[in-house]
């Protein structure tokens, strides 16, 4: 009875009166960043349960030597799915969810820049997850590891559909992530409250902003790798098949060019959480704000240059290894700066040992260990010994669990009151904390020793060698402590949602803008905002006698506020550049030296040149169309727009004719490396031209039916940018594929 009323009260609290009749629809159709954030987190929680069960099965299988609980391939499915799920369906969605919820609030915005794009992004996560898990019903999940090294992941060695589901699912998730990244960037650039200059961004928002750049730069690299793998598997391509002339190592380069920054994509939000929680519960601002902020920029930059430290044992040669040793040990410096600053923040503070703080302090110390063992991997000779052993497993779980999961738990205890209006239980929270901390350290600390004792990773069982058995047993016991901690945590979430103490607006006496509104915040977030002169507006408000020093406005960049739609398209174009960059590099790698056989000299340079001129000319026509709009001459605008569409269509038809004649002479994707790379590169360009044409047609349609008298039609400008980009890509492709062989 009592429970019932409180449930009703809670539901009433989370929905507007109008929505109560159709609350399911209200959530399914939401474009509110707060609900989307929660949907992200709930999706992540569901997959956390799945991937957690997989982890427990892994540990059960390894509990004793020569175990037969799981068949070898079942075990191989488990660790593949565990890794893939935890990274793409747990860590990323949960962190994106937290950022989605908090970022607009913290910068004083009403919502994200593109609420509908935001909704698309969140729904791609369950769809991607379902695609991946559908493989269980379609002949079995992938058994190739989350890194899917070629040639094992190629059709001759993994003939079942698991790898295809894996690749397509990650493509779906990758596209969703890029859309979220674009949204974060444009939100920070265009939706900030008055007074919230870039330099006044709280660290959480700043790091979200930086992280989003990493997302749009590297997820497309993965997408390119995935389409190349799919072309190999489904169209008999040859990118990564050594026996077809391809390179097995190329996959590793591309995968880790994405994969290492990916580690930072999930680590930087954890840094962001620590940078927010530790100061609040030390009752002091962060020590060296600028240094923490700048170290993030350096980390983002360096993280793009360290990928081959995952490949020290592949045999890349001394010079390459040394470059990546240097870059990798260097990244320890900005990371160390963060650790030192977080620690120094607590010095001289009045530390409050709330559950969020406990999780963040533990995350700091566990990350310290993971960071130090990371340095030991960056030192290549040590990596030669410890790579692919349990030492490495221990190292990265110190990052993924010790830092990231702990930071996420801290963040949820910290922001749950804002999201639900109720406090989580401190008493149960401490249980969760100790179960997780004991469990985590039991599970993973011993694995360092296990690795040094020689145990390789990804093995479904092991012989009873001295010490291996008891160490594995300890690790398995620890895993069950973490499982218990997770269950208690979910329980705490549920009961706090209904019975938690009312939180009020600002239960922790925190200083950033998300605490300046009700809990949960209303639709569009704020009734009124306090003045913003520093990074802690609520501190200034509450302590008029000793406000933070005003952060001066630092020029044009600091107040930069571009047009929303143009900023969106430009960030999208940056992400596309990465995608095409990979395809172009792959083409160059395999065609740099001219080979005999059908291929390049069968291309009709003259004919394609004429079609190319049509495409290049269409950049001019769309520019004229925009000029027409600016001059308020709508007839001119439409005419030039139609000209653009005609020219683009001519190009597409020309490309179709070229493909047809190549097919006629037997040149298909699987013929040789030239054909594989040629069709992939030009095909994806053609696909983009096709999408561009569709967008132009939509713009034309809108222009024909609506009244554009005021000359305001940002969509045209946006499509225009995209169209120019597609043309510029073709300049490169045409030069490399068609013109270069003429010189050589």
């Amino acid at each position: 009875m009592n429970g019932n009323t409180s449930i009703t009260a809670t539901v009433a609290h989370l929905l507007t009166p109008a929505e109560r009749q159709h609350w399911k629809l209200a959530w399914l159709s939401t474009v509110d960043h707060k609900r989307i954030g929660i949907l992200y987190m709930l999706t992540g929680l569901v997959f956390f349960v799945i991937a957690g069960i997989e982890a427990l099965l892994i540990r059960l299988q390894l509990m004793v030597p020569n175990n037969t609980l799981l068949a070898p391939d079942t075990y191989n499915w488990m660790f593949t799915m565990h890794g893939t799920t935890m990274i793409f369906l747990v860590a990323m969605p949960v962190l994106f969810g937290i950022m989605n919820y908090i970022l607009p609030l913290q910068i004083g915005a009403r919502d994200m820049a593109f609420p509908r794009l935001n909704a698309l992004g969140v729904w791609l996560v369950p769809f991607g997850g379902i695609l991946l898990h559908f493989s269980f019903l379609a002949g079995g999940p992938p058994a190739v590891g989350w890194f899917a090294y070629t040639p094992l992941s190629e059709a001759p060695y993994s003939s079942q559909l698991g790898v295809d589901y894996w690749a397509i699912s990650l493509l779906v998730l990758g596209i969703g992530s890029v859309s979220a990244g674009i949204n974060f960037i444009v939100t920070v650039l265009t939706q900030r409250a008055p007074g919230m200059t870039l330099r006044r961004l709280p660290l959480f928002s700043w790091m979200t902003f930086m992280n989003a750049f990493l997302v749009i730069l590297v997820l497309p690299i993965l997408n390119a790798a995935l389409v190349m793998l799919l072309i190999d598997r489904l169209l008999d391509g040859r990118f990564f098949l050594p026996f077809g002339g391809g390179s097995a190592i190329l996959w590793q380069h591309i995968f880790w060019a994405f994969g290492h920054p990916e580690v930072y994509i999930v680590a930087i939000p954890a840094f962001a959480i620590l940078s927010e929680v530790i100061p609040v519960f030390s009752r002091k601002p962060i020590f060296g704000h600028e240094f923490v902020a700048a170290s993030t920029v350096i980390i983002v930059f360096l993280s793009l240059l360290v990928w081959a430290h995952h490949m020290f044992t592949v045999g890349l040669g001394r010079a390459v290894d040394l470059f990546f040793v240097a870059a990798s040990v260097l990244i320890a410096v900005p990371t160390g700066v963060k650790l030192f600053n977080w620690s120094a923040t607590m010095v001289g503070g009045r530390v409050r040992f709330t559950t969020p703080m406990l999780f963040c302090v533990a995350a700091l110390l566990q990350f310290l260990i993971g960071g130090l063992t990371g340095v030991s991997h960056a030192v290549a000779p040590l990596d030669w010994q410890t790579k692919n052993s349990y030492y490495l497993v221990a190292h990265f779980h110190n990052i993924f669990v010790g830092l990231i999961v702990f930071a996420i738990l801290g963040a949820i205890y910290y922001w749950f009151p804002k999201m639900s209006g109720r406090m989580m239980s401190e008493r149960i929270g401490k249980w969760v904390f100790w179960l997780m901390t004991i469990g985590f350290n039991l599970t993973f600390m011993i694995q360092h020793v296990l690795g040094l004792a020689g145990m390789p990773r990804r093995t479904f069982t092991y012989p009873d060698l001295p010490g291996w058995t008891w160490m594995n047993m300890v690790s398995t016991i620890g895993a069950f402590f973490m499982a218990a901690g997770s269950i208690v945590f979910v329980w705490d979430l549920v009961i706090s949602l209904f019975r938690g103490k009312p939180a009020g607006d600002n239960p922790w006496n925190a200083w950033t803008l998300e605490w300046a509104t009700t809990s949960p915040p209303p639709h569009e977030n704020f009734d009124a905002l306090p003045p913003i002169h520093s990074r802690r507006p609520l501190w200034d408000y509450a302590n008029p006698d000793r406000p933070d020093p005003v952060v001066p406005v630092g020029g044009a960049i600091d107040t930069f506020r571009p047009d929303k739609i143009k900023a969106g398209v430009l960030t999208f174009i940056i992400s596309e550049a990465g995608f095409f960059g990979v395809l172009i590099l792959a083409y160059l790698l395999y065609n740099a030296t001219s080979k005999s056989g059908p291929g390049q000299h069968q291309l009709d340079v003259l004919k394609t040149g004429i079609f190319s001129i049509c495409l290049f000319a269409s950049s001019f026509t769309i520019w004229r169309s925009e000029a027409g709009l600016r001059a308020n001459n709508l007839g001119k605008m439409k005419a030039w727009l139609i000209a653009t569409i005609v020219l683009g269509s001519i190009f597409i038809v020309g490309q179709g004719l070229e493909y047809w004649s190549l097919f006629q002479s037997g040149v298909t994707v699987g013929l040789d490396l030239f054909a594989t790379t040629f069709f992939t590169l030009t095909g994806f360009h053609g696909l983009h031209v096709g999408f561009g044409l569709l967008a132009l047609l939509v713009v034309l349609g809108v222009a024909l039916v609506s009244n554009l008298k005021n000359g305001h039609f940002p969509a045209l400008g946006a499509v225009g940018y995209y169209w120019h980009f597609v043309d510029v890509v073709w300049v490169f492709v045409f030069a490399i594929v068609y013109l270069w062989p003429l010189i050589g």
């Binding site: 070898p72 391939d73 191989n76 058994a143 190739v144 590891g145 090294y149 040639p151 094992l152 050594p242 026996f243 390179s247 190592i249 030390s282 009752r283 002091k284 601002p285 020590f287 704000h289 044992t313 045999g315 040394l322 040793v325 040990v329 410096v333 160390g336 700066v337 650790l339 030192f340 600053n341 620690s343 120094a344 607590m346 001289g348 503070g349 009045r350 530390v351 409050r352 110390l365 310290l368 130090l372 063992t373 340095v375 030991s376 030192v379 290549a380 000779p381 040590l382 030669w384 010994q385 410890t386 790579k387 020793v449 004792a453 020689g454 390789p456 093995t459 012989p463 010490g467 020093p549």
Partner: protein, 322 residues
């Protein structure tokens, strides 16, 4: 004086293989490991010290109390804790470069042994003597041995923790590795790159023995298999040659000369069967012949559904391949 120490050291050597280096290459890495561990421990202690000082050195927060002095940072401190780590990683870089030189010197023009990774076993071809063996590699003690690493299907990785660096075998990209053992010993080696179903059972034995013994072993390995004497074994050989065994295996001295599966010419001289999954005993061999999939699920050798009699004949023959 201290009786505990040697036994603890022995225990570590016994369990923690990486801390028990037995070659100049592994020792160079081990020495650097010690340096890195010291650095790691010092940094760990410093940060933990700061955190403990912060947590214990100031009064705890109390409800309703005024917040402490705010402060915002200190440039000098920032420069110090940027510069010191920068210096440390600079030193680590130089030490890395040096250790890489010692533990991985340039290869000779011709390798002594070509080691080839297969799903899921190791092949070793001795370039000078022509000996071809599987899953058990012998080397002479105290001499650097040049390996070329190759693979015929997917990636594998060659690792003997006591002897130094691990290195991937990449199809189409031969790699080079020096190994050496300073004392006679038998080491357990592993495949450390995930290579499919039976990645867990892709072990090998690396036997380091005195020069004369090594030469004796090598001489024995290059001999063709003698014709079997017992009637059962003769039937076994006939069976071997009739059945599809010859499509995958080599037995020198017979018509079997395929290279997809392990060379069996001196099969019975090996200590293990199935790349380490069981010991090479007559009983295990019979189990294997009955159904390899029962012993090693996923192994590329199918179940030929031999009768008991055929298994006995084949086993009797194969046991003569010393």
């Amino acid at each position: 004086m201290n009786l505990q120490l040697p036994s603890a050291a022995l225990l570590i050597a016994d369990v923690v293989k990486v801390f028990n280096p037995q070659s100049p290459q592994a020792r160079a890495i081990f020495n650097l490991t010690i340096i890195v561990i010291v650095v790691m421990v010092v940094i760990f202690a410093v940060v933990v010290g700061i955190v403990l000082y912060a947590l214990l050195g100031s009064p705890r927060w109390r409800e309703g109390e005024r917040d402490p002095e705010q402060g915002e940072g200190n440039k000098t401190v920032e420069i110090v804790w940027t510069a010191i780590p920068l210096a440390i990683v600079g030193v680590l870089f130089v030490l890395s470069a040096r250790t890489m030189g010692i533990s991985d010197p340039p290869p000779p023009p011709k390798p002594d042994i070509v080691v080839i990774g297969h799903q899921w076993w190791w092949e070793a071809r001795y370039t000078n003597s022509g000996a071809v063996v599987a899953n058990e590699i012998h080397i002479p003690v105290g001499k650097p041995v040049a390996l070329r690493l190759d693979a015929v299907d997917v990636l594998h990785e060659f690792w003997v923790p006591e002897l130094g660096r691990k290195l991937t075998t990449v199809p189409g990209h031969p790699n080079h590795l020096w190994i050496q053992s300073d004392k006679p010993a038998t080491y357990l080696g592993f495949c450390t790159e995930f290579c499919g179903t039976q990645h867990a059972w892709m072990h090998f034995l690396l036997v380091a023995e005195p020069e004369e013994e090594f030469q004796k072993w090598q001489q024995a390995q290059i001999l063709p298999a003698p014709p079997p004497s017992s009637e059962n074994a003769q039937k076994g050989l006939a069976l071997f040659e009739q059945m599809s065994c010859v499509n995958c295996h080599t037995i020198k001295g017979t018509i079997a000369s395929a290279t997809f599966g392990p060379d069996l010419t001196h099969f019975a001289s090996r200590k293990q069967l199935g790349a380490g999954i069981v010991n090479n005993t007559p009983e295990n061999l019979r189990r294997w012949l009955h159904d390899p999939q029962q012993v090693k699920v996923g192994a590329k050798m199918p179940n030929f559904k031999f009768t008991d009699e055929q298994v006995t004949q084949l086993a009797d023959y194969i046991e003569t391949l010393k």
